[in-house]
Symmetry: C2
């Protein structure tokens, strides 16, 4: 029934989008949110969180199942990696509900402002998984847990408290239903955080403004070196009593004996603070907590603007409506339940970040720690660019063009504020954390410029890309500029850096070309060929070179560590020339040899030793030696399109879709990487993929749906139809664009954005003559 | 010659002030700044600093002679007390020059942004007084040191560097003349501070914006719990090279091996940072450092607005001109050099604070840590109110009426932002440090209201006073309100608190009366009599009472410690009823008995044991048992005016002026207390004193000058003439106000502000029939 309604609504939307060039209520009325399962990826290493959030929301209100110190006795604690998003599906206790979480990242931070309702005697320490009763945490069961788009609920079994939460962009809303007649408390833990180490908390400041309003901030030194988040928290009933404990090494003596600062004293500050609030809990206690990058005033205003009242169910419905609006941009109503769950959950994960980083009035904290007002754009933060430049931002150029332009403007603001005059590398909350390599902002910006989705100052953006790419003191870049490669004896992971710089340089050149700047184009096209400088024809691999011009002798092309690569081994990284696959293939022995080389990649067997001491790679995360969990290979299956065997891409892609993306908490085989893995899924499921952002071309893969309709923001509709598609029928017999057969395995960006129909006829047998 | 010119200029000013009701250039041209000796009070316990500052300036750029930790092994280090202002005259080394200092306080903080020029090998630790060559500090000699109003200079002997500094309100300017041909460095120590303890530094953030501009902030947890000062520093020549060391316990790993963050890397952050900058020093190096309460942008703008260029000598002259403008408000040109040095240095110390606390555009940090813009007033901070309500703010009502109104507005802004809805107790840099007792903001505000110097919302101010005085959880106040006194077994220093609350309550009542609010008047006049509840007729002293209504048995009226008082013993505090001296005298046995009681106070001898373990009281700091270094007795000598022996006030006052205020570095016998001691000196030297702020009455003392002309901001001129005055002729034979003989030893505020002449005839013998 729902499916049928969905189809009708979808058809109406097609008609109305032609008439009105905008989404219609008919289209938006579909409840695609029902297929979102926020639990997917919460087990093992997906690093997603199950809590409540809205698309690109600043608030991610989600349960944290443990608090693991980042370091023990000064040494990194590898267990902390499991808790990048705060929640591990296999855990049996919940510590509490905190308001900020990254989705799918491979390093972490955040976990601000943990709230936990309890009954019985007050406990202010979190306790442990093995002895939960020693602290305020509670046991829970997935049987009494619900995770939906914009809503999360769980029964806290130790207290018999039902916890529910929902969110708007900047406000988290909680509803706690307590058992009758028990002593009850609300713990507010300002020491809690994700990737916590001893001195991570730099300062906290809290004011109990009146009996229903608490404000303050938390300042941390973590992945973001200098991060500050302000909050305003309000309750639907008056605080009866409250207090705090301060766990600082350094006491503060400044009260001069005038006060008891631990009890009902409205001004609290220190490094390590935990608070408690008591209420009459005979009817459910509701809590709203708004955050702001700049001030408690800003947080209060955000709360007034977004959730002024106390209608939890209405806020929950609004959150779901907001999700449906975004999810309905791609209608795959015809598919089966499992596919819809996979697809709409991928859409959900793809639309979690970058997150809005400004108050409703546009104010945010710049990277220079000064306040700014976003002028004419929405400011975003949390740019996991090494991951997301590949498919997520290209996906946004199709499905979220306006947001992507705003994201570019946010990157440009970062550049303008940067003391290095550099675009972001991996930035969050007004900080640069420098994680991973390359300068992939350039790819994101070039992709937007080349695709004509560039309602920003393009010349200034080109300047920013060029300046970033010429910051000599950044990560071996001076060597790269002087010598044409990063020498391994001077700067590690030198092969990966050389290859990624070369790709980014090509992207810059493409933008320069589009903007008519031949000088920059020529300069960066020359740099774009630097990948050739690390290719070793003898071994047939990209290989670390020393500053004396010789290749490093010791070399294990199967090992990910210490070989000149990062998050990839020689096999994977040697294929990283997304911008000039034809040249790469020629260099590596021609189309047929390369096709066989790719075959080996997917079929070879890696000895056990290569899985030791590796966070990101596991037996289940790879196919042969193809590592889908790490991004450098994301374009690899599509490289068959440049050989004589495009059909080989088709079964590989379907195999990856099938094996690496599944329903269930453990459905993701690796970190979702802030939506990059999901974006790969979405593109590949739709049958095309942006191999080289900065190019307008998409490589044709193998559509995994029968019918998908893309409702584009420009009012156009692009339909993908795959006749006879099934798990077995993964090969393309024929493909037509707007009724005209494709002679090459590529389509162009405009061909999507202008609307139309991409129609596949699928078969269980490869059509080896296709595209010839 | 100068004196003669001074007199002529003074006369011109009298004429012109009648014509134009404003100061004239003729008056301002006098160089009273030549008499200012900033060294006075820098030896022993004066706690003044010798560095460069302008009146009420935010910058106090001054040498620090040592860095003493506030605590050693968790225990308070009593030596730190000497360094409240950073400089001790008897020290032989200078650590460097920092930009913020309190003047004369009895507890401390600040010392932000220490700069030290050096030659030879780079050293980044300060070294020690005994082994200065182990660090960057230098030996110095007072022979090669100059301290003037707005200018300080010293030869750093270890480096042969001449250091000079001057200031505007928000900018400190340095000039360093290096020896030829030496390696040279500029050390920038962000760990340095006054009253430093281990975790005092909360965070520091620095950006080398370009080769002449450095910005950042320092955030501390000290006397001010949550203090943050932003800076912008610029140089008159490009930085050649720079670097930093980070002394944090917690390393920051976030650079991922991309950078060498210690050398020429422009973004520095951490808890414990020291930096160095190298320049070509063949010509003098000049440095400007501006501070801001809100942002580095604000600091940069402050620098542009105040000292845009590089003319050190011009800035120095402007600073001196600014001082002359303020100092010329009282012309005592006729006096001798020693008196002029004492008087103008007292004027200088009185006009050091409270200090301006806002950017040139009005922005400042509120006590709720949000940003505010001062609307229609100049915001001030550093209110040492327990000291300054007594004479300094009353002095401002005469000589700085507009500033005093702005200070009230700053207090009101504090009240509006306070989560306690309380006026400041002792506030600095957007923080309440709660130091000392009472709620003397009420006295300051009431005094301004009663004296008609109240261009602010008086009704709102009355509300603020009343709310402050009804904050039950503040320092025993609920007991006081319930029982009429603070019981010693519930809250220490109970007698002092009871007495000071009673006085403040009376001040509130006076404001209420002036504003026509009879209800508040009646309520607070009743509270104003609470001093009676701690008077013990048996012992004749104000004495600690217990919550059961009995007096505490053990009682030593000579001991300052643990007896129910603070900074005073039973003898001193029992006289603390400034608002109802007549009632007090009656209660204590009548006029004659009281007069003899006062005589005993000034003549008795205190046994040695009462000087042990006492920071503020020393043999040289007291006269008999009269302690002038601690404020509670400041009105005491004037109390003779309410007995039959006003003449006894006259010799006591002159004795105090003579003994407690002298030329020379050790000229002050105790802390200057942010100008309160100096304000006492100024009033008493002029011959009158505000015994009870909140009253319009001044008690007549004994003028210590022959002639003084007060140029009031309203254009009026008030002249004090003391015929035949000398060290011996301390008694008043006769006194006339505008030609009419005074029959009581009092004059009123309006009689001063309306202009006129107060003429004394002095004698070596008391006129015991005067005022009868």
């Amino acid at each position: 029934m729902k499916n049928k309604l969905g189809t009708i609504a979808g058809s109406l939307a097609v008609i109305s989008s032609i008439l009105f060039t905008t989404h219609t209520s008919a289209q938006e009325e579909q409840d695609f949110a029902q297929y979102v399962d926020p639990m997917i990826g919460t087990a093992k290493m997906g690093h997603t969180y199950p809590g409540a959030t809205v698309p690109f929301g600043s608030i991610q209100l989600s349960p944290d199942t443990d608090t693991i110190p980042y370091a023990v006795d000064g040494h990194y604690n590898p267990d902390v990696y499991k808790y990048c998003a705060g929640y591990q599906y296999d855990d049996h206790t919940i510590v509490g509900f905190s308001h900020t979480h990254f989705s799918g990242t491979g390093h972490s931070d955040l976990g601000d402002f943990l709230i936990m309702p309890t009954t019985g005697d007050l406990k202010l320490n979190p306790g442990t998984e093995s002895n939960p009763e020693n602290g305020y945490r509670s046991r829970f069961s997935h049987d009494r847990e619900t995770a939906e788009a914009g809503y999360y609920s769980v029964m806290l079994d130790d207290y018999n408290i039902k916890a529910e939460m929902t969110a708007s962009t900047r406000v988290g809303m909680h509803r706690y239903t307590f058992p009758e007649g028990e002593k009850s408390h609300l713990v507010f833990d300002l020491m809690h955080g994700i990737y916590n180490y001893e001195d991570k908390n730099v300062w906290t400041f809290v004011r109990v403004e009146n009996d229903t309003l608490v404000t303050g901030y938390r300042q941390t030194n973590g992945w973001a070196r200098t991060r500050k988040v302000y909050f305003a928290m309000t309750f639907n009933k008056p605080i009866k009593e409250y207090g705090r404990e301060r766990y600082d090494k350094q006491p503060y003596h400044g009260f001069w004996g005038k006060f008891d600062p631990t009890h009902n004293f409205p001004e609290i500050a220190g490094e390590q603070i935990r608070m408690w609030f008591d209420f009459d809990t005979s009817v459910p206690l509701e809590v709203k907590l708004a955050i702001s990058p700049v001030s408690t005033e800003g947080a209060i205003q955000n709360m007034k603007d977004e959730i002024p009242g106390w209608n939890f169910d209405e806020v929950r419905q609004q959150a779901r409506d907001t999700w449906n609006k975004e999810l309905s941009k791609v209608d795959i109503s015809e598919e089966d339940q499992e596919e819809k769950v996979n697809f709409y959950t991928a859409m959900y994960h793809a639309f979690l970040g970058p997150t809005v980083y400004m108050d409703t009035d546009g104010q945010y904290m710049g990277i220079d720690r000064n306040r700014y007002e976003a002028d004419g754009f929405t400011n975003y933060t949390s740019f996991s660019l090494w991951d997301t430049y590949r498919a997520l931002h290209p996906l946004f150029n199709v499905l979220q063009p306006e947001r992507n332009q705003d994201m570019v403007q946010a990157m440009m603001a970062h550049y303008d504020q940067s003391v290095h005059s550099m675009l972001p590398v991996w930035s969050h909350y007004g900080n640069e954390n420098w994680c991973m390599i390359g300068y992939h902002s350039a790819s994101v910006i070039a992709d937007a410029i080349v695709k004509g989705n560039a309602d920003f100052d393009e010349q200034h953006a080109l300047e920013a890309m060029v300046n970033t790419a010429k910051t000599g003191y950044y990560d071996g870049l001076q060597y790269y500029m002087d010598m044409g490669y990063v020498p391994e004896d001077k700067n590690g992971a030198s092969v990966s850096k050389t290859l990624e710089y070369a790709y980014d340089d090509w992207a810059i050149a493409q933008a320069a070309k589009k903007l008519g700047n031949n000088q920059v184009y020529d300069e960066f096209m020359k740099r774009a060929e630097n990948y050739k400088n690390v290719y070793d024809p003898k071994s047939g691999f990209m290989r670390p070179k020393l500053s004396d011009g010789t290749f490093k002798k010791e070399f294990d092309e199967l090992n990910t560590h210490g070989q000149g690569y990062i998050e990839g081994n020689g096999w994977n990284y040697s294929l990283y020339v997304p911008h000039q696959p034809a040249e790469l293939i020629e260099m590596m022995g021609g189309k047929n040899q390369f096709s066989q080389h790719l075959d080996s990649l997917f079929t070879m067997e890696l000895p056990d030793k290569y899985f030791e001491n590796t966070e990101d790679i596991s037996r289940e995360g790879i196919i042969g030696n193809y590592v889908h969990g790490n991004e450098p290979s994301h374009h690899v299956a599509y490289m068959y399109n440049w050989t004589n065997d495009p059909w080989k891409a088709q079964d590989k892609i379907r195999m990856i879709l099938k094996m690496k993306y599944m329903n269930g908490a453990d459905g993701l085989s690796g970190n979702d990487d802030f939506g990059q893995m999901s974006a790969w899924y979405i593109f590949s499921t739709l049958g095309f993929y942006p191999v080289a952002p900065g190019s307008v071309d998409y490589a044709i893969g193998s559509p995994a749906i029968s019918e998908a309709t893309l409702y584009l923001d420009n009012g156009n509709t692009f339909k993908v139809i795959a006749k006879n598609q099934s798990d077995k029928n993964v090969y393309i017999k024929k493909v037509e664009l707007n009724g005209k057969e494709l002679t090459e395995p590529f389509i162009k960006h405009d061909e999507i954005m202008n609307g139309g129909e991409l129609k596949f006829w699928m078969s269980s047998k490869p059509n080896k003559n296709l595209f010839k």
